[in-house]
């Protein structure tokens, strides 16, 4: 059986392709409105805070806090079934965006991970890098 790999994003999707392009140079980016300061995430072409928005790309330091998480113990997905148990989490980046990712290096935490500090760790693929996280 051929190696099954992690499902990867569609790099041509119109709203998010710039986010994924930035990952190739190890940059975790998000948008902020120059008009009203709203942080927009996931990426879009319009500001959700004001109608005259001018969105600018910013680069995150790649550090944040686990807002909430779960340990996935059952998956029928051909890739993820080989990964169980693994941690999925909503992560609040210090600049404001909240994103879904995995927390590496821990599969069955004894204590809650909520509030724990994390830092991005890139998983490099041929045409894109995936922002995963590790406890700091």
């Amino acid at each position: 059986m051929a190696d099954v790999q992690r499902p990867l994003p569609d790099l041509t999707e119109e709203d998010t392709h710039e986010f994924w392009a930035a990952t190739r140079s190890g940059r975790l980016v998000y948008q902020q409105c120059a008009q009203c300061d709203t942080v927009v995430f996931y990426p879009r072409r319009h500001c959700t805070g004001c109608t005259s928005g001018r969105l600018e790309w910013k680069t995150s330091k790649g550090t944040g806090t686990i807002y909430t998480y779960s340990v996935v113990r059952q998956s029928y997905h051909p890739f993820f079934r080989s990964q169980v148990p693994y941690v999925v989490a909503w992560i609040d980046l210090d600049e404001g965006p909240r994103l879904v990712s995995n927390v590496l290096g821990i599969s069955a935490p004894d204590l809650s991970l909520i509030g724990k500090r994390v830092r991005v760790e890139w998983e490099t693929h041929e045409s894109v890098s995936i922002p995963l996280f590790r406890l700091v």
Binding site: P7, E13, S70, Y76, H77, P97, L99, I114
Partner: protein, 397 residues
């Protein structure tokens, strides 16, 4: 109560009895069969129907057209609102509005699914490829549907001290009701449940983890099934076979991830006050709470957000079997057995309306004595990220 308007009523209901059709019946056939039985229940005919509400699960992108032809009726009103499991609460809300506006006389809501026969791995399967930007940001993470809800539970525990034992009260209550419902018992047999009996909190805590902190007995089944609901105006309702179940109030809302948002707060916090406000009643007056029980945490957060108890106190509030039909401090929760133990073919919202109507007619297997008021609250999508909520308040004469 002076402002309460009784301009539309549920007069016909049917729940398709089988949860395992073994691939021999299609979703469309389940919809049509259920529609015919619900119309008979009301004492009405296909030709009486002039408004169709359809979530598109059987007929594809043009379901408003294809379902009309399939049924063989020519409706004046077509509504194809598709918001997952909450679609049918939206449909009931829209039917009430359309009937009150004089645009519709007899509204037909139907649902059919063969999720079990088709072996759909709804809860723990992979996510299909999608070009929606939100999916494109999450597809790499292996976030299963169960884990999505589990993240709400973990945050609720962190924020409010809720325990797994408290969450377990919810599947224990729904199983208690399921064991009194022969169709639910048959469903559990057909879907090869182990140990089909009343459960305890310890049973739930001893079942295996699917996505921490949610365990097997906190997750709904995946069945085949469907049903139908007929809604009409007061003049026609008076001539129907069964007593009318009035739609007293409706509310609709969405909720999606926001930077800094509170994932323990569901769209019910917005739809609930709209529905209760329109009905002119409070949660304390509700006898029967039909709450979308995809998972234990879904019910706990929605009970709080509808105002049955203060936010964060749901865990303590449900302790001690409060949600059982034979308790006086109720409300009774999901007296058909719910999605956890009776019927969940993917979009359960129609069964919330059906069992609420049974209760207000006095026809439930776990009948609440002298039930007068019920709430049906559907949740569609995913609780921990983007979801829709529909709240319907129902009352008898």
């Amino acid at each position: 109560m002076a402002t309460q308007v009784r301009d539309a009523a549920i007069v016909g209901i049917h729940e398709y009895p089988s949860r395992d059709v073994e691939g021999r019946v299609s979703p469309l056939q389940i919809k049509a069969e259920s529609a015919a039985r619900a119309l008979e229940d009301a004492g009405l005919k296909w030709s009486d129907v002039d408004a169709i509400y359809d979530a598109g699960e059987g007929g594809g992108a043009m379901s408003g057209l294809t379902i009309a032809e399939y049924f063989g009726i020519r409706p004046n009103v077509i509504d194809t609102t598709a918001v997952g499991g909450s679609s049918y609460e939206y449909h009931a809300a829209h039917a009430k509005r359309d009937i009150a506006a004089g645009k519709a006389r007899v509204a037909l809501l139907t649902y059919g699914s063969t999720a079990h026969s088709a072996a759909q791995r709804i809860g723990v399967g992979g996510r299909s490829g999608s070009r929606h930007p939100a999916d494109n940001m999450e597809v790499f993470s292996g976030l299963t549907l169960v884990a999505n809800y589990a993240m709400v539970a973990n945050r609720h525990m962190h924020q409010y001290g809720t325990t797994s034992a408290q969450l377990a009260e919810i599947p224990v209550a729904t199983r208690y009701h399921a064991m009194r419902n022969p169709e639910a018992v048959k469903a559990m047999q057909d879907l090869e449940f182990l140990n089909i009996r009343e459960t305890t909190v310890d049973d739930v805590l001893n079942s295996r983890l699917i996505a921490d902190p949610l365990r097997l007995l906190e997750c709904c089944m995946i069945s085949d099934g469907g049903g139908a609901v007929v809604i009409t105006n007061p003049a026609i309702a008076r001539d129907c076979r069964k007593p009318p179940v009035w739609i007293l109030g409706t509310g609709e809302a969405t909720r999606y991830p926001e930077n800094g948002g509170d994932v323990t707060c569901t769209a019910a916090a917005q739809s609930g006050p709209l529905a209760f406000g329109e009905a002119g009643i409070t949660p304390a007056e509700i006898d029967v709470a039909m709450i979308y029980d995809s998972f234990s945490i879904t019910v706990l957060t929605i009970l709080e957000d509808l105002g049955f108890c203060p936010k964060g106190e749901g865990g303590r509030w449900v302790e001690g079997g409060r949600l059982r039909f034979d308790r006086m401090d109720g409300p009774a929760l999901n007296t058909d057995g719910g999605g956890l133990s009776s019927n969940h073919p993917g979009m359960r919202g129609i069964f919330l309306l059906i069992e609420a109507a049974r209760q207000l007619r006095g026809e439930s297997c776990s009948q609440v004595m002298d039930a007068k008021l019920a709430v049906a609250h559907g949740n569609g999508g995913m609780l921990g990220s983007r979801h829709c909520a529909g709240t319907i308040i129902l009352g008898r004469d």
